[in-house]
Amino acid sequence: MNRDWYRMAVRSIRFSPEKRSEIESRLKQTKASRPAASGDWRTGTDDSAYDYRRQTMQMIRTEEYNMKFRRMRRTMLVGLLVIGLATGGAIGAAVSYAKKHPQILNITWKNGITLNLTNEESDELSTSWTTYGSSRDFTRFVTPANSGWFFWKQTPYQSEVNDGYSTFIWNDYRNTLTYADKETGQTATVCARPNCLHDGNAYCTATTETYAPSYLTWHDGWLYAVTTKYLHPENSGIIQSGAKPEDCKQVLLRYSPDGTEITELADFGNGIGVSKCIIHRGYVWCIAQRQTRGEEIENPITHNTTIFESGGWQLWGYELKTGQSALIYEAMGDPEINHVNAAPDVLFGAGDYLYFNRMEKDWSGGQGLCRISLLTGEVANGEEENLITGRHMLCHSKTAALRTAEEKNEQKENIVNTYLLDFETLEEKLLFSNKREIDMTAEERQQVTDDPYNVNIEAMDETYIYSRRNRPHEGSTEKNMEADVMIALFDYEGKLIKEIDTGFDYKLKYDTTKDREGNYFTEQTSDSYSIIAVHDGLIYMGHAAAGWSTGGNIRDRAGKNEVLYCSVDELLNSENPEWKFAYTPITESEEAENDAE
């Protein structure tokens, strides 16, 4: 639409000259006195007796009127107050009742599945984010809560393992459920057990090794997660590589935020993997992963290792009110094509539908966005066809942004298209169409083309689409890169609103080092940033720092992940936006330094 045209059209609406002069003439008059009411005292008489009587009557009437008016006003005020209190109380009670007893919609599908849906829409912001990964991943699954963040802190440790034949030193990572307070920035281990060492013992709620760490979802003061339960946690450390499908289960957990309990809400059967869950319409919707086959290979400790292959996945609904579970969708594995039913990484609730991504059956076009109706159980576009194919999907409110698989344009170049899909109308809109940056050399990439932002959408909110790119410094090479981390905000028409230099630097470095046997090898390390979410007016950046050194073996340097945040308003209006740390997990080396001090 041409807005200038619209503006011009509206501007052509004007008062007619006659109307204009009529209004102006009225406005030129002095302030109009209130017109005399009918039956008022006549004026202009010179009869003094009449005047006296008139004045007296006026006084009496005025006094009477004032008295009446006062009484009436008092009565009205009292009445209004009573009505207001009664109405307010009734509304408050109704709201309170509605909150405690949300409207239940009883649904029975054709296949007999029954659901009791409430009217509580999903809060897509309650689901957790995955921080930007690095070779040493120190934080995972960050989850915003009311006054801070929950996340898994990952620290390396060594343990002695005896397999019955000999003792080994086993390198492992310990995952600790941690809370960071937004106001103070202080972190706390989510375990309330007195004198607990948080060492993975069976009673510790923060470091339990019975359950794998997983995406956390904050809802109504609890943390929910769908994860793997190890049936033999005594083999901690080696169990994850030695477990068979029958050794693991997929379960829905509920963590208390004060570290007092972990409750197993539902058991979805054998399987391994961590998955997302969302809360929508009174249910926790869970993806349970299946591994039905396993190939055994030799392992020096366990003497066998199971290579898991996808056995498909299932979508379960857990009713919060009753604790009943229902299997609502099943995408089981195909022995011929292992990846066909790989579990989705997009799960999103909007209105009467659940949206998820699903592999194409023939593995030709990557993934597709699909939806299942909660009212009928029907999958949109049938079992074979998805709503739209694409990768790197983002969902927000009533829209999804998808990047398609690469295509060839007329010049035979690889291009990437980005589409917006409206959930209500299912209309697709092409937002960007760009050459695929990854196919270019470093030199080509520096000269890039239209706009590399357009293939790097990382977050959405009600107003903007957020994209990030790294702008190389002069002299950077492919193996020794330094670049400015830039963020661009687009509107939903694809128009660039603002490009912002975050002040962060992206670094990529290759280093040649020597191993214990004296062999040289090249290793890559990077210091990178990405947008992980926009939540409640704040934009969050994940920072994966891989431990930089001026030389030597970079592999042994401790790195860490951080999450920083900044107000979107400040980003738009300030030249130097201030970034704050959501939290900075302490690495083991730093902990050791602290202990030494």
Binding site: M1, N2, R3, W5, Y6, R7, A9, V10, R11, S12, I13, R14, F15, S16, K19, R20, I23, E24, R26, L27, K28, K31, A32, D461, E462, T463, D491, Y492, E493
Partner: protein
């Protein structure tokens, strides 16, 4: 500081047409739009007040017009619009060849999108300013603006008018 001295006349001469355009966009009806617009200035004439500057005055006038339009909507419980023929006869729009397009565009926009689109596209207010003016959240205004544009575009596309 603009004095109270004949502020209504000054305001009408400066923003009379703006008020009419805003009312027309909200109501889609010439007669009601004129009534609402002139009532705003008459009210200001009866109860003059001071303004910091012209922008303050303009914002006041627009806010008053939109409030009165909302009141009228509530009162009538439905939108009042003239038929195409009535509007053609109104001689309100003297631009040849554009009248049908204007009618379509304005009719395409229901409340509350009409006011937001008008303030943004015609008056050039930012989302933040509109939010402050209408007492809404910025996100709400932004969302309404986006949806208003979408509805406008859909209407124009459906009607086959190429803009």
């Amino acid at each position: 500081m603009l004095s109270k001295e004949n502020i209504a006349l000054y305001a009408f001469r400066k923003y009379g047409d703006t008020a009419l355009q805003a009312a027309f966009c909200c109501l889609g009806n010439q007669a009601d739009a004129e009534d609402v617009a002139q009532d705003v200035f008459f009210a200001l004439h009866r109860h003059p007040r001071e303004f910091n500057d012209d922008e303050h005055l303009k914002a006041y006038i627009l806010r008053a017009v939109i409030n009165r339009c909302n009141n009228l909507h509530r009162k009538l419980k439905r939108r009042i619009r003239l038929s195409l023929d009535q509007l053609k006869e109104s001689e309100l729009i003297d631009r040849e060849g554009s009248i049908d397009d204007i009618i379509r565009m304005i009719k395409a926009l229901p409340a509350p999108y009409n006011a937001v689109v008008y303030l943004h596209d015609c008056e050039g207010y930012t989302i933040r300013e509109i939010a402050k003016m209408l007492g809404k959240k910025e996100n709400t205004v932004s969302s309404q603006l986006r949806r208003g544009h979408e509805k406008l575009r859909m209407e124009i596309t459906d009607s086959g008018v190429l803009l």
